[in-house]
């Protein structure tokens, strides 16, 4: 009996085992596996949510790549945002974590200040940044103007809108800082002391101890943030509506528009699958190459 092999004593215990994990199993099937299957099927149909769905095979996928010029634009915008955001976020978060890891006065207060933005609901922070970025009356432009600089058309300019969203995203690095900080505090003191004894400076500690021991955490933060950036939605949805001239139209916003604005559920689902595969591919590349630059204690 399978239950006995797994270490359960009786049928009763096996039953209880199943009962106890049933919420998770049910959750996974009902809220993950089933919707994914449905989405895959929908991506092969033409469906406006009102009339009956019509099976069209791969037509939606072909349409995306051949007819929908906004699709490629949204991919470009999203990749631009990701490539700009992720490295900057990582560098700034690592810097912040290193500072917080030293014995500065008011460390706790700084920690709170850095983390605070992560506690603000994203809708609220979007509305707040909308005001900060306002080109006529925004605080940022007010400050620029008061020191004699020209006003910048932050989110009103098609060249500045993605960098503006990046700035806003960087403001929100509290989560990453905390994870880096946890990693930094896990670095054995004796290794750092060993560097000092050998006459190494801070740079050597950083280069030969901190970075290697932190590399798995860097990998984790990089993957998680990359996925978050690829799913950019709320900020452009609330702040720009994808404008000006579609220059902040993100991949997910384009999916949303197709699904709920134009009633093209099939096309939208096909795009969602393309996004899934794109994310999977990028993650795979990062994972595959990570063995060259991550170091796990106890490895080799």
């Amino acid at each position: 009996m399978a239950g006995a092999k797994m270490g359960f004593n009786t049928k009763r215990q096996t039953l209880w085992g199943w009962i106890l994990i049933s919420p998770l199993c049910l959750g996974l099937t009902l809220w993950v596996a089933f919707p994914m299957g449905l989405s895959l099927w929908t991506s092969l149909t033409e469906w406006d949510m009102l009339s009956k769905a019509e099976f069209v095979g791969l037509k939606n996928y072909i349409t995306i790549f051949t007819e929908d010029e906004l699709f490629l634009k949204s991919v470009r915008n999203t990749l631009y945002f990701t490539v700009l955001s992720v490295p900057l976020q990582m560098i700034i978060a690592l810097g912040g974590a290193l500072l917080l890891n030293t014995q500065v006065r008011g460390k706790r207060a700084f920690r709170t200040i850095f983390y605070l933005p992560s506690l603000i609901p994203i809708v609220v922070s979007s509305v707040m940044w909308l005001w900060l970025f306002n080109s006529q009356y925004g605080l940022i432009n007010y400050l620029l103007h008061s020191v004699g600089l020209n006003r910048v058309q932050w989110i009103d300019s098609r060249h500045m809108v993605i960098p503006s969203l990046t700035i806003m995203n960087i403001w929100n690095v509290g989560n990453i800082i905390i994870i880096f900080l946890a990693g930094l505090q896990g670095i054995p003191k004796d290794l750092l002391e060993a560097v000092e004894i050998d006459g190494g400076r801070y740079w050597h500690k950083f280069r030969f101890v901190i970075i290697p021991l932190l590399s798995p955490i860097i990998l984790y933060n990089m993957i998680v943030n990359m996925i978050k950036c690829l799913q950019l939605f709320v900020e452009p949805y609330i702040m720009t509506g994808g404008g000006p001239v579609n220059s902040s139209l993100s991949f997910v916003l384009h999916i949303y528009n197709n699904a709920f604005k134009y009633g093209k559920m099939g096309v939208a689902n096909a795009m969602a699958w393309v996004l899934f595969i794109l994310t999977l591919l990028i993650s795979l590349v990062i994972f595959k190459t990570s063995c060259h630059w991550t170091y796990y204690e106890g490895d080799r």
């Binding site: 080109s135 702040m239 134009y262």
Partner: protein, 449 residues
Amino acid sequence: MKSKFLVIACILFLISAGLCFANGQKATASDQVNLKYIYWGSPAEDAAVKQALSEFEAANPTIKVEPMYLPGDLDGSTYNAKMKALAVSNTLPDVGYFRPEEFGNYAENGYFLKLDDLIARDGMDDSYLPQTWLKIQGNTYGAYSAAECQVMWYNKKVLEDAGVPIPPTDYRNAWSWDEFVTNLKKITVDSKGNHPGDPGFNAKDITRFGVSYDLWSAMYYPSVWSNGGDIIGSDGKTVYVDKPEAIEAFQNLSDLMNVHHVMPLVTGGTSVSPMTMLANGQLGFYVTGQWTLLELGTMKSFDYGVAALPIMKKPAQLYVSGVNVVFNSTKHPEEAWALQKWMMDPSKTLDLYTSGLWMPTKMSYYTDAEDLAKWLDNDVHPEGFKEAVVDSMAVAVNEPIMIKNINQIWGDYLNSAVESIWIGEKTAKEALTEAAGKIRKSGLLQGTY
């Protein structure tokens, strides 16, 4: 053993409590009808609609109306998304507002109650404006909630300060476009007191603007029509947006921002409402929907007036409104229809009209002097409102909501083209020629409902 008993007891208790609750609901439902009324709008509109609904309840004690309010968004995409979710999950309300651009699609798919028999039975056919009833293939499935249009408000004090004459209110003898622009330049001023055209005028440092136009699809029609152009033909198959008349109209609007510098560059992100700017004296004119009078009327802090829309070639006006429908899924069609009729009858919901939110759809409120006075004679409606706005409905053309895919034609092609004109990146000719070409190739031109 004991604990097991407790668990079972708890479960039994919960089930029985649930049953009792369900029974309780049924007991009240037998003598009372519950309706859900869905609508969008500003907080002020929300309050006005809730007031009308509770008056309906007072007049019909057996009917209870649950308001379903969705805060307004400019292009209605949130409302549409919500509606779609309700439709797919079979939880549509009984009656309420509906986004005009989606009306045809839902009507064709049988989501609305056919109203013809009810209208005929209650003798309502001839007593309402002919544009009010919305028909698909000869059958009526809804009615415009109100008669609404484009208006031009102004701040009297700003005009006086700038030495601009009070503009005409007769919609047929309004300012020409050139007169309009000349006056806007007088109003616009930078922080050093220079006007556009003055040496040393700094366009990046303007403290008071001449005008702000609401920049969204429906609001472009009157300008384009006034210039003798169109966007998509009423057959739903012909594109007119790249014809010279339409191009010139869009270029005129763009020039307000990029050449004359008399209008703030408003794109998606900007969040200071022109209404606030108007009230603060940072704006001379505001061209927007007439329903904004509801907000304007509550601003006691400044003196506002209404002017006739400037004329490019001929007077034009737009008939635009949300739609009112009874959903086919309702279990109480009679009561739902009674509620819709209530909302359409100014004698029952006069507040919605006197407050400035709506203009009536009932004919006598335009033709009968006594009825006209009922909704126009008050502090909210400024002097000249009748000549500038009410009378202009004589030339009003319906927003072309019966064109298939019109929402997506705007969303995918025209909005971004128009935006690139507003930010001065392309001329109207370049942007609209390009967009028109794409629309013709897009396969979206599928005629009308």
